[in-house]
């Protein structure tokens, strides 16, 4: 994955943002590259069937959904620099919009997820318009407040959301309703979701938009002074990030088939989205997915072995240690490790 570095524009942007080395990427011949990609794709397609039990497939799907959520957050936070603590609101908007459209009007969640994304995109735009001027802790607190308000609304607008009782997605199986009897099917949905969000991020890294976002993150005044329309691009990033988060919200709802305010819009979920991206590596395309691969199974194992409280203690501890010792996350370290292995392999 990390070797996907042609001499494109993104090389230095990725390396600089992610803390990777500035060394010239090794260019492999084209044919083995394609073979490698095909092999990786094949491995991903058969992966769930290799797992020992449904428990592991379930876990793998969760990794994908959380990886997508964290990647979507990363667009606004890691690239554009807006550290949001309210992203669970967009998860909730996605989950509730598609589920309500399905329950009340019988609209397929495939369409419902687009409606949810559009709604969340608009909300993200609104939140962005209210907060684009705020800096540092003021921005963080404003997004936190937004998330809390959406949570309170989800609990209290009982006429629409059924409040704390939640919504059950009736099992009306079939791909047209994004409801499957086999867990493996959700793996493919999750894979498509991750491909969409990470693919969008990779595109951003190589595009004019991505350069602008990183410049805005690094120094807004300098960015404006060389002609970057800061407000416009911040709003686009906020809206895009919100919309992608909502898509993941719909997939989540279809996967667990029951949503309530606590499982979709709680403050802690906003924190977990951010935590995953930070652990893996903010401002990099693959970091948030790596974060999900680390954090979700770790949390699951800890919950099973020592219980929920201690598991979250470890989350808290991990977060403190990572931001103090390695604020760039695990990805730079992993890249260095892979290079080292590569060199050893080549050298001996």
């Amino acid at each position: 994955m990390a070797t996907d570095k042609q001499s494109s524009a993104a090389v230095t942007a990725t390396a600089a943002a992610g803390g990777g080395s500035q060394g010239e990427p090794s260019r492999r011949p084209r044919i083995p590259r394609i073979v490698g990609l095909l092999a990786a794709l094949a491995a991903l397609l058969v992966f769930p069937w290799m797992l020992p039990s449904g428990y592991w497939v379930d876990l793998a799907v969760q990794v994908l959904i959380w990886g997508a959520l964290a990647s979507a957050w990363n667009i606004a936070a890691g690239y554009a620099g807006g550290l949001s603590l309210g992203h669970a609101a967009f998860l909730g908007v996605g989950a509730y919009t598609s589920t309500l459209l399905f329950l009340e009007l019988g609209i397929s969640p495939w369409l419902g997820m687009l409606a949810g994304a559009a709604f969340a995109g608009l909300l993200g735009l609104l939140l962005g318009a209210l907060t684009f001027r705020l800096r540092g802790p003021f921005f963080v607190l404003a997004t936190l407040a937004f998330g809390v308000v959406v949570n309170i609304l989800a609990v209290n607008l009982r006429g629409i959301t059924r409040g704390a009782a939640g919504l059950v997605v009736p099992f009306d199986g079939g791909w047209e309703n994004m409801l499957f009897a086999s867990l493996e099917a959700y793996w493919y949905v999750g894979l498509a979701l991750v491909a969409l969000v990470v693919g969008t991020t990779l595109w951003i890294e190589r595009s004019r938009f991505g350069y602008y976002l990183v410049a805005i993150r690094e120094d807004e005044d300098a960015a404006r002074s060389i002609g970057v329309r800061v407000v416009r691009w911040k709003l686009v990033a906020a809206s895009l990030s919100a919309a992608l988060t909502a898509l993941a919200g719909t997939v989540y709802a279809q996967f667990v088939q029951y949503i309530d305010p606590s499982s979709t819009t709680r403050f802690e979920l906003s924190v977990q989205i951010a935590l995953i991206a930070i652990v893996g590596g903010m401002g990099t395309a693959w970091g948030p997915l790596l974060g999900a691969i680390i954090v979700i199974p770790l949390g699951e194992i800890l919950r099973a072995e020592v219980g929920g409280g201690p598991a979250l203690m470890v989350y808290g501890f991990l977060l403190v240690v990572i931001v103090l010792a390695a604020p760039r996350g695990a990805l730079p370290g992993l890249r260095a490790l892979l290079r080292w292995i590569g060199r050893r392999g080549a050298g001996g």
Partner: protein
């Protein structure tokens, strides 16, 4: 090219700039000098758009730009550097300049060519792949100028780019500015290094406590009684040696 008329800036009761008017003609190098707190940087911010004037007009090539966003002013041809440098620290030196070229409508590949050219002009090619935050101060100042050049700015605002430079580096900077000026760029320069600005500028504007104290050729300004008293009673050229390099940045 640039004209300020009666520009006034108030910051919560404090008057930072007080009815300042002056003009910069195309092809000129204009120096903006004055003691600390005279309102020089605020005046720059008014021109580049980071500060809205409380009153007064700012015209650039005949157009009133006082209400325009900094990005739009950049797109009209105004470029600047910052007294306290603002590189995009976690980007490579090359990418810092690429961002600037992108705002001029280049595609990414084209922007890289423009950026390489700007880096070459400023002798920064060998640092292209380094992180901007790792550069020494003198090079970070040059990087800001490279960014401005990559936007094809026709009016360049330089805020104390010689502060903290060695005499050799100052001479290099002077040569560079003259060369760019020869190629058609117009300059408005804030400088504490009095010797350097007196050599370089065609025209000098002196600010003191927010108001314009004097303006004219370097010769006229250096012997203006008000300017001499503002600089502690010494003729300005002498004051340059004593107080020219106490740059806070």
């Amino acid at each position: 090219m640039l004209g300020l008329t009666d520009v006034t800036v108030d910051f919560s009761g404090l008057r930072a700039v007080d009815h300042v008017s002056f003009a910069v003609e195309e092809g000129q190098i204009v120096g903006l000098i004055g003691p600390n707190g005279a309102g020089k940087t605020t005046t720059f911010n008014v021109v580049s758009g980071l500060v809205r004037p409380t009153a007064g007009t700012v015209r650039f090539e005949g157009e009133d730009i006082a209400r325009l966003d900094p990005a739009d002013r950049s797109r009209r041809g105004i470029g600047r550097t910052f007294q306290i440098v603002k590189p995009f620290g976690n980007l490579s030196v090359l990418d810092n300049v690429v961002v600037a070229a992108l705002t001029r409508g280049h595609r990414v590949a084209g922007a890289r060519d423009v950026a390489r050219e700007a880096l070459a002009t400023l002798g920064l090619e060998s640092f292209a792949r380094s992180y901007a935050r790792g550069l020494p101060l003198a090079l970070r100042k040059r990087l800001e100028l490279a960014r401005a050049l990559a936007t094809d700015a026709r009016l360049l605002l330089l805020d104390e780019i010689m502060g903290g430079l060695t005499p050799t580096e100052v001479n290099e900077a002077l040569d560079l500015i003259r060369r760019l000026n020869h190629d058609g760029a117009t300059f408005l320069i804030i400088e504490h290094n009095m010797k350097a600005i007196m050599q370089l500028a065609d025209h000098i504007v002196v600010l003191n406590q927010g108001a314009k104290l004097a303006e004219g050729t370097p010769e006229e300004v250096a012997h203006h009684p008000g300017v001499i008293s503002a600089y502690l009673g010494q003729p300005v050229e002498d004051a340059a040696g004593a107080g020219g390099s106490d740059d806070p940045a």
